[in-house]
């Protein structure tokens, strides 16, 4: 049964003149992994900050577990786990203390907290570092501790703000594996990310946000099929007659000047035809990805 765990109805957040989130509506089902994507300043972090009470809503209704966030913040926060973007590991405490002290904020009795902390550190392959301090650990380890700490209260919803930003490939895969396993256990997850491969790999459904609004929402595979197609033909230094041919054939494409991207469900025949006739230097046909969708919808300009 489709049971909503988060429901946002026309939620807005403004800071003076600046509109960070503009009348956004979405819903997350129990057991679902839901991703929020968007360029810098799209409103992703603000949206999730509203869920855990860091940013009061300017307008709209936001419910978590069926409870209104503006009135039941404490009850909601007792049932969620949050991994913030910043490193919030307490450097004054050891790793195990970070977990047990955190458990105390949830009024979890000490014996249970210690058992749970041990279990979580083992799950994150960090049990050998229980008595280290955060400053002695690598970025990947710190991120896993934040994740372990967010799970100490056995949350029903896990909120992750850019869980793998700044991590190396090995560390990213370590985090993904843990998240996969949590997902299999039925945990609901809401995450924001800049990485399209992360979203494709982890998320059942995503929204792509830009300038405080939701541009699209759906399953990653469906969004790719809908907005790009099956493949992308990538041609560097395209010749003028190729441009003319593509116009004539009414193909979906994007012209980046020195590179041409042709979207669609191409077959090998067309690929061979174009590559033989127009591209003596060769061109590439590859599978369409979420990144193509993202760049097509949010543009290629820098957001700074």
């Amino acid at each position: 049964m489709w049971e909503p765990i988060v429901e946002a109805l026309q939620i807005s957040k403004t800071y003076g003149e600046l509109v960070a989130v503009a009348e956004v509506s979405f819903a997350i089902a129990r057991g679902e992994c839901f991703g929020s994507l968007g360029p810098n300043g799209a409103g992703k972090t603000t949206t999730i900050r509203m869920i855990y009470g860091f940013s009061p809503l300017t307008a709209g209704v936001l419910k978590v577990f069926g409870l209104d966030v503006s009135r039941h913040a404490r009850a909601i926060k007792a049932r969620i786990g949050v991994c913030q973007q910043d490193n919030t590991i307490d450097p004054d405490l050891t790793i195990i203390q970070n977990l047990t002290v955190f458990a105390r904020y949830f009024n979890i009795p000490r014996p249970l907290a210690v058992r749970k902390a041990d279990e979580l550190l083992r799950f994150m392959s960090l049990d050998h570092r229980s008595h280290s301090r955060a400053l002695e650990l690598s970025g990947g380890m710190v991120r896993r501790i934040v994740l372990a700490r967010a799970l100490i209260n056995q949350p029903e919803l896990l909120i992750l703000d850019e869980p793998t930003t700044g991590l190396g490939p090995q560390s990213r895969h370590q985090v993904w594996e843990r998240l996969d396993s949590l997902r299999r256990q039925g945990l609901s997850i809401l995450l924001t990310t800049h990485y399209m491969d992360e979203a494709s790999r982890l998320c059942d459904r995503i929204i792509i946000m830009d300038q405080g609004r939701i541009l699209v929402q759906g399953k990653p595979s469906e969004l790719i099929r809908e907005h790009i197609g099956k493949d992308v033909l990538e041609i560097s230094s395209p010749a003028t007659d190729l441009r003319a041919y593509i116009h004539l054939q009414k193909m979906a494409f994007e012209d980046l000047g020195d590179r041409l991207l042709v979207y669609g469900d191409h077959d090998d025949h067309l690929y061979r035809y174009i590559s033989n006739r127009f591209c003596p230097e060769g061109c590439v046909m590859r599978t369409a990805t979420l990144e193509d969708v993202f760049l097509k919808l949010t543009g290629r300009g820098l957001r700074e």
Partner: protein, 255 residues
């Protein structure tokens, strides 16, 4: 509400307990240094100072003032520099806010912790002063609850500044403008009675003056009639700065 305050307080106590061997040194050594410099060094030059109707030794005069200064410094330092580091650099408050704790509980827990630091420092210092026979008992025992009240007042004031400064360097300002003048001019190192009226009035406005009055009364076991007034003034400072600190910190943390 109260449980959350305790949780924040416990976090700070856990950290303190790891470093207690270092943390308890300053309140132990500082009064010894002051007693040596002012009590022994200056005492010879000054001899006795007038207090109430009679005269007391200079050492007896400054010992309670050192207690009051210690109460002020410990809480004020804890809720400015130390709280700011936790809030700004270590993101400790941000992590706490994602748990059932509210901003009010976090800030109150911090201020209560600052007051606790004042109590710990006072207790340690009392040991030294008792050895030198500078505290009258049993009234001296009331210094402990007084340290908490004074610590809460100065801690709230410190937390208010933590709520408004942009950068840690800016704490130099309240230290330079409030703490240092209070340290020197609150009837701490010389009696106010002999001063012209306007510096006396200025000193009366400073909360430390009243805290010094109270520590003197408790150390000497003789209560002046100004005690309720002095206690009232210290409490008034809490009543003003504690809500202000909550408002400023809420505005700072919740956007």
């Amino acid at each position: 509400m109260s449980m959350g305050i305790l949780r924040v307080w416990q976090r700070n106590l856990d950290v303190y307990r790891q470093n207690w061997k270092i943390s308890f040194m300053p309140p132990l050594l500082e009064p010894l240094l002051y007693l040596a410099a002012f009590g022994v060094g200056l005492s010879g030059l000054i001899g006795e100072v007038p207090y109430g109707a009679g005269k007391i030794s200079y050492l007896t005069f400054i010992a309670p003032a050192l207690l009051a200064i210690n109460i002020m410094n410990n809480a004020f330092f804890e809720n400015t520099y130390a709280s700011f580091v936790r809030m700004y650099y270590q993101k400790t408050f941000a992590a706490m806010m994602a748990t059932p704790l509210s901003v009010e509980e976090i800030i109150t827990g911090e201020i209560v912790w600052g007051a606790t630091k004042s109590v710990i420092a006072t207790a340690i210092m009392m040991v030294i002063l008792t050895i030198f026979n500078l505290i009258h008992y049993p009234t001296g025992l009331l210094l402990i609850p007084l340290a908490f009240c004074g610590g809460f007042a100065f801690g709230s004031m410190g937390m208010y500044f933590t709520g408004i400064v942009f950068h840690i360097e800016l704490f130099n300002l309240p230290f330079f403008l409030f703490i240092t003048p209070m340290f020197l001019f609150s009837g701490t190192f010389f009696p106010l009675e002999g001063m012209p009226p306007w510096p006396q009035m200025l000193a009366t406005a400073l909360p430390l003056t009243h805290l010094v009055d109270l520590t003197r009364g408790l150390c000497y076991g003789s209560f002046a009639k100004s005690v309720p007034l002095a206690l009232g003034y210290v409490l008034l400072f809490s009543l003003i700065f504690y809500p202000l600190a909550l408002i400023k910190m809420r505005r700072r943390l919740i956007k």
